[in-house]
């Protein structure tokens, strides 16, 4: 499918190939927000050149620092490669949203290594935890001490930038046996209050680790009470939902809502149901980088839609 695009080596992309990349490629997704509806504008560099009036931020995900198994013996090394791509961008992104699983085992040294490499971007990072970030002895204390400043509960928060309302949700704590990701009543009540005074014309970007919509129940790829959160967002003209967890690109548009999951920078996972279990997918070493990446999101001022572009580490 997007093979041609992935192997392009900078020879240029047609619209078709860009759209293909938007669906299944990815080193980073470049999101463009404008007028409230997301759309794709091109690869990171092209997007910045073609649409200079907006602002761009990045989505990075599932760094799994500390992972050293066969699927990628050097997760820190591939994160460094991703960060090098960020540093090489012609226009600096406004900030980075990290959709969780910063570390593999929540160890202090893993957080330290991640912070050091992410710090090289020189860009502010907004974090939400993945389930791998809250498995320290005190179940999330290490994460909150590092990244939880100004957040509520297990680490949820919101902020405004360039007229867009950003909401970081946590759906990896207090998971119930047999169930999926979980937001919980306290967080949903907070979300309702957070949105109460917002005009329906405010573009919304929601980000959380596990997909808010159910992508594949058998593997737990969804959020039990995710629909309750999405119902609170229904009245808004533009809602973009950014998730990680599944280590592959998946994108869907439903009315005013666009759903997007990002690539990991550490290792790929199989497509839903394509393997007996969802664990790290072993691919030939020379193909690994085409399965890892980040996303650029460009937010346009005026009446233009928001764009997401995924780029792999191979590109």
């Amino acid at each position: 499918m997007a093979k041609k695009g992935l192997d392009d080596q900078g020879k240029g992309f047609g619209r078709r190939e860009v759209l293909e990349c938007m669906v299944w490629a990815g080193t980073g997704v470049l999101w463009t927000v404008g007028g409230g509806v997301p759309h794709s504008v091109g690869l990171i560099g092209e997007a910045a050149a073609a649409e200079p009036a907006g602002f761009a931020f990045l989505q990075m995900s599932d760094s799994h620092i500390g992972f050293d198994k066969a699927a990628n013996p050097d997760a820190l090394g591939t994160l460094r490669e991703a960060v090098a791509k960020v540093k090489a961008m012609p226009t600096k992104p406004a900030f980075i949203i990290h959709t969780g699983d910063i570390t593999h085992l929540s160890k202090p040294a893993e957080f330290d290594n991640a912070d050091k490499v992410f710090g090289e971007t020189g860009v502010q990072i907004h974090w939400v935890p993945g389930e791998h970030d809250i498995i320290d002895e005190e179940r999330g204390k290490a994460y909150l001490e590092r990244y939880g400043k100004g957040s509520k509960g297990a680490g949820w928060y919101s902020f405004d930038d360039h007229g867009v309302h950003f909401i970081g949700l946590v759906n990896v704590v207090d998971l119930k046996g047999g169930g999926l990701g979980n937001l919980g009543a306290e967080q949903l009540a907070w979300l309702e209050a957070d949105l109460k005074d917002k005009s329906s014309s405010t573009p919304i970007v929601v980000f959380a680790h596990i997909p808010l919509q159910v992508i594949y129940k058998e593997w737990g790829w969804g959020t039990e009470d995710g629909m309750q959160a999405l119902n609170l967002l229904k009245r808004f003209g533009s809602v973009t939902v950014l998730n990680g967890h599944i280590h592959q690109l998946a994108q869907k548009v439903e009315g005013n809502m666009t759903f997007h999951t990002a690539l990991s920078t550490a290792f790929p996972q199989p497509a839903p149901g394509s393997a007996p279990w969802p664990g790290p997918m072993l691919v030939p070493a020379d193909q690994l980088r085409s399965k890892l990446g980040l996303s650029t999101v460009t937010v346009m001022q005026g009446n233009k839609p928001l764009a997401i572009v995924d780029k792999t580490l191979a590109g």
């Binding site: 992972f67 198994k69 066969a70 699927a71 593999h104 085992l105 929540s106 389930e131 791998h132 498995i135 002895e137 998971l175 119930k176 046996g177 047999g178 169930g179 999926l180 129940k217 058998e218 593997w219 737990g220 007996p276 279990w277 969802p278 664990g279 790290p280």
Partner: protein
């Protein structure tokens, strides 16, 4: 176990066929017994293994007072969490294990706190 049978095999050429038969007759039952013991040990009767995001056996029946051990063979960490909160392991990395002694009878439904679609059950009689 493996080392022992290997030694026997290596030692065999030094004996005449007749002596080998005698030695086999002498040690045969002992070797069989050791093999049988090894098979049981490998299964670890009261152990639950975690492979490929699955608890095996998914349902285990034990007597009260039994210690059950969970071992994670995946390259992704898992946890073992009782639905009714009587036990909860720390995150088990590859080859880490967790043990819990079931003092009294009852049914214990448990799951992985990281991947809650992974479920299992211990029945204590």
């Amino acid at each position: 176990m493996k080392t022992f049978t290997n030694r026997l095999r290596l030692a065999a050429p030094r004996f005449t066929p007749g002596r080998a038969v005698v030695i086999a007759m002498l040690f045969g039952p002992a070797v069989s017994a050791l093999l049988a013991f090894g098979a049981v040990a490998a299964q670890e009767e009261n152990a639950v293994t975690i492979d490929n995001f699955t608890f095996t056996a998914p349902e285990l029946t034990v007597a009260a007072g039994t210690t059950v051990k969970w071992i994670n063979h995946d390259d992704i960490p898992h946890t073992v969490v009782d639905k009714n909160k009587s036990f909860r392991s720390k995150a088990l990395d590859t080859d880490d294990s967790f043990s819990y002694t079931f003092a009294s009878a009852g049914t214990f439904d448990y799951f992985c706190g990281l991947h809650p679609h992974m479920v299992g059950k211990i029945i204590v009689k």
